[in-house]
């Protein structure tokens, strides 16, 4: 009987762990001055990923680096090595953001008072500039833990401390122009309106939304956290929700909110039935708070999420720092209704890569992310995880062609098979005119592809009609393997 139970358990684990994903670890940090150690969240521009590390393990430095790398794993380039001290940042916080060819970010330490900085740097590594050096106290923030966001030419962000000084330093919300001018505090957290924001803000229609890790009660740090909103001009600060912890509430959010269709989604590190963290949703007006998932840990679930969620269609993706088959963290997916929660990958199987604390980056059916520990050098890795069995990248462009008196327009389509877990039997080029439905325009067989790429012209287009294209891949049984992003021209 025991053997049967063991076999059933092994079978279950094989089915569940890993499920379908084929993760690829395409860069391992050596921890040297050439790359850094403990990478955090990534951003993507074209095919280039930008990120930061917290330190350089070989020298014991906790200054950190800024780097870039292509999504295929090539071209790792160190853009900046933080020096700390009065003239540079130290211990980068959150993720970078990109505007044009300029990256903006924050460090938790460094600057004149060693209380954190806001910086900018060109994507080629030139012109590193400190935009602001936090000084703390009543008039400034201190120790930013998340990243800035950009709205127009204004950066918004939060600091974990500052705003009052002393024991009442509960953190701030600030704004600053992208050129470094006009720094001002929009809000100083104090007592019951939240304390110690760890994540970043999001903005929608002139309103900022964010979370704090705790609520600083006098003499009683209940520390369950809040969700708030505030106008971009600093008016109208409103607490939308106070986390209660326990079985029916979350506790201690570290990451950011995700806004989709007037619903906010987020995660807490603790709370829920098992006090191992939750996934929640809430309307932007503060109503309808509900726990979508309560992490239970173990091989079929995660626990203690630090980062944020990303969404594709109606599916939420995220990472937990613990749980999973090896107990060293997971990548998971779940419908935004709270159903179909499933771990997609359990960390720990590859050279001990473990405990992801950032947010995955979703692009073209692939999740990119970092793990701060593990890899061959023990200093973290960058990974990519395809979300479907076939990932197709489609580019579509409307082109003009001239005869003598006739001007024709056609669609120039180029698609590339970036990943195929199983053999593809056919590709369907689908087209939609205006708001109509998709219909099959052309069937492409795999043998017609050259180096996994195919180009074709769809002739001829009506110049007053919009056309949307997508590519679908099917296997020999007719099962859909993957769909490209839709491109409208």
């Amino acid at each position: 009987m025991k053997k049967i139970k063991s076999a059933a358990l092994i079978g279950f684990l094989l089915l569940v762990w890993p499920l379908r994903a084929e993760i690829r670890f395409f860069y391992e940090f050596t921890g040297s001055a050439n790359d850094g150690a403990e990478p955090n969240s990534l951003i993507l521009s074209g095919t280039t990923l930008y990120g930061m590390t917290h330190g350089i393990s070989n020298t014991g430095s906790e200054n950190g680096t800024i780097f870039k790398i292509e999504t295929d794993g090539t071209g790792f380039t160190l853009l900046h090595t933080f020096g700390g001290g009065a003239d540079d940042g130290q211990w980068p916080a959150g993720a970078l953001i990109l505007s044009g060819t300029t990256l903006y970010g924050m460090t938790m330490y460094g600057g004149d008072g060693n209380k954190g900085t806001i910086f900018k740097i060109n994507t080629d590594g030139t012109r590193f500039t400190l935009l602001h050096e936090f000084t703390g106290g009543a008039a400034d923030g201190q120790w930013p833990a998340g990243n800035v966001i950009l709205s127009g030419s204004t950066l918004f962000g939060m600091t974990m401390r500052g705003g009052h000084g002393g024991d009442m330093d509960c953190g701030t919300i600030f704004r600053i122009e992208a050129d470094g001018s006009g720094f001002s505090l929009l809000h100083k957290f104090y007592y019951e309106d939240g304390a110690y924001p760890r994540g970043s803000l999001i903005i929608s229609a002139g309103t900022l939304y964010g979370m704090t890790e705790g609520i600083a009660m006098k003499g009683n740090d209940s520390n369950c956290g809040t969700i708030f909103r505030i106008q971009a001009n600093g008016d109208g600060f409103t607490l939308l929700h106070k986390f209660t912890g326990g079985a029916s509430g979350g506790k201690g959010p570290f990451g950011d909110l995700l806004l989709f269709d007037s619903t906010l989604y987020g995660m807490t590190r603790y709370g829920g039935d098992h006090d191992l963290g939750t996934i929640f949703k809430m309307q932007i007006n503060g109503s309808g708070f509900a726990l979508l998932h309560e992490f239970a840990g173990g091989p079929a679930d995660g626990e203690t999420p630090y980062g944020s969620l990303v969404m594709s269609g109606s599916t939420l993706y995220g990472m937990t720092s613990r749980g999973g088959g090896n107990g060293l963290g997971t990548i998971f997916e779940m419908q935004n209704t709270g159903t179909n929660f499933a771990p997609m990958y359990g960390f720990g199987g590859y050279d001990g890569a473990s405990s992801p604390q950032g947010t995955p980056l979703l692009h073209n059916s692939t999740l990119y992310g970092t793990v701060g520990f593990g890899g061959s050098w023990g200093n973290g890795v960058i990974f990519s995880l395809p979300l479907s069995n076939c990932i197709l990248d489609l580019q579509a462009e409307r082109r003009e062609v001239r005869a003598f008196s006739i001007l024709g327009q056609y669609a120039h389509l180029h698609f590339q098979v970036e990943y195929a877990a199983v053999p593809v039997a056919k590709y369907w080029i689908m087209r939609r005119e205006g708001n109509g439905g998709f219909f099959l325009r052309k069937t492409i067989l795999p043998r017609e592809l050259q180096e996994e790429q195919f180009q074709l012209q769809d002739k001829y287009l009506d110049r007053d009609t919009t056309y949307t294209y997508r590519v679908e891949a099917y296997d020999t049984s007719g099962a859909l393997l993957g769909i490209s992003m839709e491109k409208t021209i």
Binding site: V401, F404, I406
Partner: protein
Amino acid sequence: MKNIRKALLASLILVSSFCQVCPGEEPPVRRFAVTAGANLFRNTQASYRQLYGQSAFMPEIKIAWSFYHDIGIWGGCSSISGNGFIEEVNEEVQIARFFLGFGLGYVQKLNASMRIRAELGLTFNSFKEEALGAIRKGSGLGWKIGATLDYFFSKRVFVFLTSAFSQAGDQAQTGKIELGGFQAGTGLGFAF
């Protein structure tokens, strides 16, 4: 150098001998003439030539009537067709064109067997292009000027060398298109 001189001399003698076919006779006054010619037509617009070729064969029929001394009127029609290929879309394209013209003419006798004609008139150029999954018809009204050298080798029959330039345009999807051009050719005429 000597060879060139010999060739020039031989040419001069040959031309002179043609001019002496009917020595001493004035060509009879013929009020009507009908001609059939074969021309090469070169469209003014470079993009047209790039698509359909630098020149095209252009058959032409003309009639003329002298109503007062050396002055008369003329009318004629001609056509060309062309095929092209657009590599960008890997497609063949074709065009058919028709030219109508009429106007005033002036005839100047050079000698007993040669005369020169100058013509000025209006031209109506139409086309039908089939390309890029569409058919487009268009036309344009313009002007035409030309000159012809006739050589009578009998009392009624003559050969001629001719050249003309026309200009006419139309507005198309591709912008303003030029339908005129330069033409040069030869042919046979009958006067009565």
